[in-house]
Symmetry: C2
Subunit: 795 residues, 2 copies
C-alpha cells in the first residue's frame, strides 16, 4: 500500500498542470456567469450593453464556483487513474455549473447539437438557460450526466449510494451542500455506507461543501468547528479530509492532494475487501469537507454590501445589470476577470490545452452511461407466474395470504437474476412482517456492521435492504433504478406518506426524461403497500391511512398506475406486470393477512388485463339489467362486498345483483384522461346507465367520484371507503366504523334500489340487528363473531 501511495504522489499535478486546472475552472465559472446574465456578446468581444443582458435574471451563482472547482479536480483524477466516476450534484441551484462543465468537456454539444462549440453555440448556451423554451435553472433530466434533480433538497447522498450498489467499478462523487445537510433525509443518509459492501459495490465519495450560507442565513454545519465536524463524521463512520480556504493558488494543490489521497484509500478498502480477507465490519470510507466561499470569485461587494462569502451571492449577486450601468460595469469586470480571451479561441472554442484536461468519451462525467441508466438496463428474467398460482377450485372458499405467494415469486426473481446483480428488494424492516419472507430463501438482508451468531438472514452479501427510514429505502431505490437496475419497495401503507415528496420529484423526473430521446427508459419504481388501512386494527389510527393513492392519482396519466388486486393470483399478475414496465411508478395495494381467494390464474390474467370486470359467478342478473351493481376495489372491500351480496341473495333472492371488481383503478377514468381508461361504452356496460352502484373502495371515497365524474351513471354511484375512523380494534370493526362492512353495504343496496327499503324492511331490521350484535360481541370478547370470521363464499 505504501508503494502504491508513493507512486500516486509522483502523479501529483505540477505547477503547470495546476495553472491549467485553474484556467479550466475559470472557463467553467465564466460560462456559469454568462448563462445567468447574457443574451448576447458571449465572449465580451465588445463592451457590455444593456441589450446583451437578459431582462429577467434567473439562476444561482452562490454554489456554482465550488461545484466547478470540484468538477475540474475530478476531471484530473479521472484522467490520472482512468477512473469511472459520476457526479451527483446536491446543490441543485448549481445548474449553470453542471451545464458549463458538460459543455466544456464536449458532452453537451453531442447531446444537443444545436449548441455547438463556437461563439454561436455559446450565445445559444447562454440564452437558453432559465429562459422560456430553454433549459431549467437547476440540474435536471435535461442536464447530461445527472441522475439527481436539484430543487427539493435532501436526497443527493442517498441517490449516490443507490447508484453505487452493484457497480463495483464506479465511484459516485456526491456534493452535499451545507443547506441540504440540514435536512432529515440527508442527515440519515450518512449511515448508508453501513449497507454498502466494498467487495461487490462501488464507492461513494461524499464531499460536504460548506460555503456558509443558505438563502438568507448561515448554515448550521458551516458554523460548526472543524473539531465537531471531524467528530460528527468520525462518529458516522467516515474518515474526514478537510480542504479549506479561498485562495485558488493554495486550494488547487490541496484539493488535488486530498483527492489523490482519498482515491488511494478507496482503492485500498476495495482491494482489501475483494481479496477475500475482509470479514465483516464497516471500512472507514473517506469523505471530504470542502470549505470555500459562497459566490467565490464573484463580486466582493455590491452597493456597499458584502456579497462574496455571504448569502447575498446565493442567487444573482448583482441585479438589474440591464437597467443599471454601474451594475453592468461590475458584471463586465467580473466576467473579464476570468480572461475569456485566454480561455476560448477566436472561434469561441475552448483552447486545446484546456480541452485536453477533460476525460475522453464515456469517462466524461456528462457522458458516463451510469448517469443514463437506460443505456445499461438489462431486462429482468422473470419466472412464469403460473408456477406460483394458488389453486382456486371454488371462488371464495379457501383462504390464502396474497403477499406470501408474491414472496415466493420474488424469491425466484431474485434467484434468476442473481448472476446479473441487478435486482434488490427494499423495505423499512418489514419484508418478513409483510409476508415476503420467502425471499430469504434466496438471499439475506445486507448488513455491514457486526453480525452475531444468533442473527437471522443478515449478511454482507444480502440483496434485501432494510432500514427504518422510508427516505433511505426510496432514495436508494431511485438511485438504483436511475442507473439501470430493478427493484421492489414494500412498505406499510400509512407510512409511505413519509416519502410523498420524493415520489413527486421522481414522477417529475420521469415526466421530463421521457420527453428526451437521448435518455433511455429506466425500470419502473414499484411500490407494494401492504399492512394496509384495513389490517392495522392492532396498531391503531396512526397506522391507518390510504391517502397515498390520492397523491399518485394527481400525476400525469401515463406516469402512474394504481393496482388493487383482490387476491393472490391477481397480485401475482400485477407484480409480474409491474416488473416488466419502465419509466413508470406502479402502486400495488394488497393485504398480508389470510383472505378469501377468488380467481383461478387464468381468470386472474383475464381480469387484470381488462383492468376490471363483472364477476359472473357472484352475480344473479342473468340476461337482464341488474337492480343494483355492487362494485369493489381492494381486497377487504371485495370480501365485504361478496359477503354483502351473499346476504342480499339469501334474504332477497329476487334482487338482481351484479358484482364488478376493479383491479386497475385508473381504468375508471375516461380514455382521454388515462391510457388504461375504459371507453364509455364499456364503462356503461359494466356500471349500467342508470342503476344504483354501491362501490366499496379501499381508500378515501372521494377519489372514486373524482375518477368517474365524467361517466354517465356517476350520479348513481355511492361510494363507501375510509372516512378517517380508526383505532385499535378488531379487523371487522374497522370496516364497521367506516361503513364499509357487509351489513352497511347490503343496507346501502337496499336503500338505493327504488322501493326496496319498504319491501325489505324486515331484512333491514335484521341487518341492523347484526350490527348491534357485532358491536356488543367485539367489546365483550375482543374479537369478531365467529360467523364473521368464518364466513366464506359458498354459492
Amino acid at each position: 500500500m505504501t508503494a502504491n501511495r508513493t507512486e500516486t504522489r509522483r502523479q501529483r499535478p505540477d505547477a503547470a498542470e495546476i495553472a491549467l486546472i485553474d484556467r479550466y475552472w475559470r472557463a467553467a465559472n465564466y460560462l456559469s456567469v454568462g448563462q445567468i446574465y447574457l443574451l448576447d456578446n458571449p465572449l465580451l468581444r465588445e463592451p457590455l450593453k444593456a441589450e446583451h443582458i437578459k431582462p429577467r435574471l434567473l439562476g444561482h451563482w452562490g454554489t456554482t464556483p465550488g461545484l466547478n472547482f470540484i468538477y475540474a479536480h475530478l476531471n484530473r483524477i479521472i484522467r490520472a487513474r482512468d477512473a469511472n466516476v459520476i457526479y451527483v450534484c446536491g446543490p441543485g441551484h448549481g445548474g449553470p455549473g453542471m451545464v458549463a462543465n458538460t459543455y466544456l468537456e464536449g458532452t453537451y454539444s453531442e447531446v444537443y447539437p444545436a449548441i455547438g462549440e463556437d461563439a454561436e453555440g455559446l450565445q445559444k448556451l447562454f440564452k437558453q438557460f432559465s429562459f422560456p423554451g430553454g433549459v431549467p435553472s437547476h440540474v435536471a433530466p435535461e442536464t447530461p450526466g445527472s441522475i439527481h434533480e436539484g430543487g427539493e433538497l435532501g436526497y443527493a447522498l442517498v441517490h449516490a449510494y443507490g447508484a453505487a450498489f452493484d457497480n463495483p467499478d464506479l465511484v459516485v462523487a456526491c456534493v452535499v451542500g451545507d443547506g441540504e445537510a440540514e435536512t432529515g433525509p440527508l442527515s440519515t443518509s450518512w449511515q448508508s455506507h453501513k449497507f454498502l459492501n466494498a467487495a461487490r459495490d462501488g464507492a461513494v465519495l461524499p464531499i460536504l461543501h460548506l460555503n456558509g450560507y443558505k438563502i438568507a442565513n448561515p448554515t448550521v454545519l458551516a458554523r460548526m468547528s472543524d473539531e465537531d465536524l471531524r467528530s460528527l463524521f468520525t462518529g458516522y463512520g467516515y474518515q474526514p479530509y478537510f480542504v479549506e480556504g479561498h485562495e485558488p493558488e493554495k486550494m488547487h494543490p490541496r484539493m488535488a492532494e486530498v483527492l489523490d489521497e482519498v482515491f488511494d484509500v478507496i482503492a485500498e478498502i476495495q482491494a482489501k475487501a475483494r481479496s477475500g480477507d475482509a470479514g465483516h465490519g464497516c471500512p472507514r470510507w473517506p469523505m471530504i469537507v470542502l470549505r470555500s466561499p459562497k459566490g467565490w470569485t464573484g463580486p466582493k461587494e455590491v452597493d456597499g454590501l458584502k456579497v462574496e462569502d455571504f448569502w447575498r451571492s446565493h442567487q444573482v449577486p448583482v441585479s438589474n445589470c440591464r437597467g443599471d450601468a454601474g451594475h453592468r460595469k461590475i458584471l463586465e469586470e467580473w466576467m473579464q476577470s476570468y480572461g475569456p480571451h485566454d480561455l476560448f479561441d477566436e472561434a469561441g472554442r475552448l483552447r486545446p490545452e484546456l480541452r485536453a484536461l477533460a476525460p475522453q468519451g464515456r469517462r466524461r462525467m456528462g457522458a458516463n452511461p451510469h448517469a443514463n441508466g437506460g443505456l445499461l438496463r438489462r431486462t429482468l428474467e422473470l419466472p412464469d407466474i403460473r408456477d406460483y398460482a394458488v389453486a382456486v377450485e371454488s371462488p371464495g372458499r379457501d383462504l390464502g395470504q396474497s403477499t406470501r405467494v408474491l414472496g415466493s415469486y420474488l424469491r425466484d426473481v431474485m434467484r434468476m437474476n442473481d448472476k446479473y446483480s441487478n435486482f434488490r428488494v427494499f423495505g423499512p424492516d418489514e419484508t418478513e412482517s409483510n409476508r415476503l419472507g420467502d425471499v430469504f430463501q434466496a438471499t439475506d438482508r445486507v448488513w455491514m456492521e457486526d453480525i452475531q451468531p444468533y442473527d437471522v438472514h443478515l449478511s454482507p452479501d444480502g440483496r434485501v435492504m432494510e432500514v427504518l427510514s422510508e427516505h433511505l429505502c426510496q432514495g436508494w431505490l431511485e438511485g438504483y433504478l436511475l442507473t439501470g437496475r430493478h427493484g421492489f419497495f414494500s412498505c406499510y401503507e400509512a407510512f409511505i406518506h413519509i416519502v410523498d415528496s420524493m415520489f413527486n420529484q421522481h414522477a417529475k423526473w420521469l415526466q421530463v426524461s421521457r420527453e428526451l430521446s437521448w435518455r433511455k427508459p429506466v425500470s419502473s419504481l414499484n411500490y407494494l403497500l401492504t399492512s394496509h388501512v384495513w389490517r392495522q386494527d392492532h396498531n391503531g389510527l396512526s397506522h391507518q391511512d390510504p391517502g397515498f393513492i390520492d397523491l399518485v392519482a394527481n400525476k400525469k396519466a401515463d406516469i402512474v398506475r394504481i393496482y388493487l388486486p383482490p387476491d393472490a393470483n391477481t397480485l401475482l399478475w400485477v407484480g409480474d406486470h409491474c416488473l416488466k414496465t419502465y419509466d413508470r411508478i406502479n402502486v400495488i395495494v394488497a393485504g398480508k393477512q389470510p383472505e378469501p381467494q377468488w380467481l383461478t390464474m387464468e381468470e386472474a390474467v383475464q381480469h387484470c388485463e381488462a383492468g376490471m370486470g363483472r364477476w359472473d359467478w357472484a352475480s344473479n342478473e342473468g340476461e337482464e339489467e341488474p337492480d343494483v351493481v355492487m362494485a369493489c376495489a381492494g381486497d377487504v372491500p371485495t370480501m365485504e362486498t361478496l359477503a354483502a351480496v351473499d346476504l342480499l341473495r339469501e334474504h332477497i333472492p329476487d334482487l338482481k345483483v351484479r358484482v364488478v371488481n376493479v383491479v386497475d383503478l385508473l381504468a375508471l377514468q375516461p380514455q382521454y384522461r388515462h391510457p388504461h381508461g375504459l371507453d364509455d361504452e364499456a364503462f356503461d356496460a359494466l356500471f349500467t346507465k342508470n342503476r344504483p352502484v354501491v362501490f366499496a373502495y379501499h381508500g378515501y371515497p372521494y377519489l372514486i367520484h373524482r375518477l368517474t365524474y365524467k361517466r354517465r351513471n356517476h350520479g348513481n354511484i355511492h361510494v363507501h371507503g375510509f372516512v378517517d375512523e380508526g383505532t385499535t380494534t378488531s379487523p371487522f370493526d374497522m370496516t364497521v366504523m367506516n361503513e364499509l362492512d357487509r351489513y352497511h353495504l347490503a343496507l346501502a343496496a337496499i336503500k338505493w334500489v327504488p322501493g326496496l327499503e319498504v319491501r325489505a324492511s324486515e331484512v333491514v331490521a335484521e341487518l341492523q340487528g347484526k350490527l348491534d350484535a357485532h358491536h356488543h360481541y367485539v367489546r365483550a370478547y375482543g374479537e369478531d363473531m365467529p360467523e364473521i370470521r368464518d364466513w366464506t363464499w359458498s354459492r
Copy 2:
C-alpha cells in the same frame, strides 16, 4: 459549581431507595405485561387459565421495560429536585408502559375514574388495552402526560424541543428508540439544540435507548461502538453519558448517578446562561445513551429460540397463551417473577411505600400541565387588521404584495405578545424571501452558534425559527402548540409535501384529542404556503406542486380549513382569523409577488366571512341570469379570470358574465360534509342551476369536481388548474402551459355558452392569435408581453 455537585452526590439514593425503585419498576413491568395479556385475574390470585388470556394478543413488550426503567428514575429525580419534567416517549409501541406508569402515580384514575386503584380497576386497565372500545396500543392522545403519538417514528426529539422553547423551567426528557434513530427527521433533530437558548428556554434531555433491535433486524446505532457513538454525539454538540448493562442491581445505581450528573450539568448551563455572562455559542448539553436488553426481564427463550435481548421480544414474546398451556405457564412464571403480592396490597392497590416514590400533583409526569397544553394556553393578543389594510380605491388598479402586508401584521402580533413569550414564526430559511421580512423589525432569527458582525437579524433571542428542514419547522411548531403556545409556519408550497405525513399524524392527534374532554384545546397549526406553483417560474418544475391541498381535503371536515385569499386585505382577514382558532389545521395559500388588489378591507371582511361571493363590480349580468359564471379561487387564477372577463366584456359586450370568487375552499362542499359548506340554495344562487361555469382554480382541477359533485350544476362546471405542466419560464407562460391564462379562460367561456363559438368566431381567432403572439414574444425576449405584464382592471 463543585460544591453544588458534591451536595447533589449526597442526595444519591441509598441501597434501600434503590430497592424500592426496583420494586416500582417491577410494578410497572407487571402492569405492562398484564395489559398485553390478561382479560382477568389481574393479581394472579388464582392459577392462570385460558379464559384469563385475551383472545388476540396485541401490544409491544420489547421497548417497555426500558421505558419503565427511565420513568422510575425520572420520578426519583423529580422528587429529589422538585423538577418540572415531561416525558416524550419516542418508542410509541411502549403504550403499555406509559399507561402503567400514569396508573401507578395515580394520574390515570384521576383522568379516567372508571379505572380505579383497586383490583377491579386493574382488571379494567388490563382488559381495555388494545381492545375494541378500549385504548390504543400506542402512546396516544388518550395517554395522560403525552404530547407525542407513538406510531410513525421520527418526531420525538423535535417535539421535545418544541415543548422546551419558552418554557425555562421545564425539562423535557425524551426517549429516542434506536429504530426511530435511523429515520431522517430524528437524525437532524439532534441539531435542534443549536436553536435553544438556555437563558429563556427549558432543557431537553435526550435519552437514546439502544435495545438493539427493530421488528426483525438489529439497529444501526446499537451496533455502533461506544467510541463511534461518543464521537457522533460529541460532533452533534452534546456531552454523552453511557448507562449500559442488564443487571438491575448495577443498572439502577448507575442510572441514578448519571441522572444526578446530567441534571447538575443542565442546572449549571442554565445558571451560567441566566447569569448574563453566557455570550453566544452553544453549551454542550448532556444526553444519555442507555443500552439495555430488548424485552428486559421477559422470557429468555421460548420454544428454544432466543427472545430476551433479541427482536423476538419486539411485540408479544410468548404467543397463544390461551391455547397453549406451556406458553401460559411461561407467562405465569414471568408475571410472578415480578412478585405482584409484594407490589400490590390485598385490595389491589399499589403498596404505600411504592406509591410514595411517585411525585405529587402536577409534578407527576402524567399530570404535568405542559403535556395538556390547552390548560396553559393564553389567547393571543391581536392587532386590528384594519390598521394594515391596503387602500383599494378602485378594484384591480393598483398592485400590492399580499404576504408583505401580512408581514407587518405578524410583526405586531410578535410585539404585542412578546411579554408572554408564546408566539413564534417558523420557516425553512424563507421568511424574508416569502416577503414576511417586516417581522424582523420586531425580532430576529434565533441562532445559538457563532454570530458574525455582518450577519443580519440573527440573535440568540430571536423568535423566528429558520432551518432548512421542513421536518424541524413542523415538529418544533407541533411541540410548541401542544404545550399551549401559538405559531405560524410559512413554506414554499411544493415542499410542504415533505411533511405530508407529519400533517397527517397531527390531524389524527387533533381528531382524537377533541373527543377527550380532559384535553383542552390547543392553538391551530397555521400554514402559509407561498412561493406557490404559479410563481415558481424561475425555479422550475421541481418547485411547482399545489397538491398539499388535496391531502388536506381528505381529512375530517372540522379539523381542516383551506383558504385562498386573492389579495392583501383578504389575506389579512384570513391570517387574523386563523390565529384565533384552535384544534384545527389552517392552510393559507397566497402569493408573494406584486399583484392586483381587489377588495377594500370592509369588502374583504364581508367576502371572507361568507367564504365566497359574487363580485358585482366585475359582473354585468344585471338582474338577469348570467350566460356564464367565471369562478376563481387563488390569487393568480383570480387575476387571470378578471383579465379574461375584461377581454370578454370588451369583445362581446352583450355577454352576461358573473364573477364568483372563492376564498374558503371547503365551503364548496355540501353543508352536511363540512361545517363551512354552503347550503344548496346559496350555492345555486351563486353558480346557477344550469349555466356554464368556467372555474379557474389554483391547484389540481380534480379537487373542485370532488368538492362539488353533489351540487346540482356540477355537470356544467369546467375547471382549469394545474395539470403538471411546468418548467423554468415566465409567470404568464406558466398559466398558458396549464390553460389557466386569460386567453384560455375566455376561450372556454365562449366554448361553453351555447351558440357563442360560432357567433364570436372572430374573437376566438383573435384570442388564439394572442396566444401565438405570447408564445413567440416570451421565447424571443424572455419576459411576458407588456400588455400582459401591465394589465390592470379598469372597468
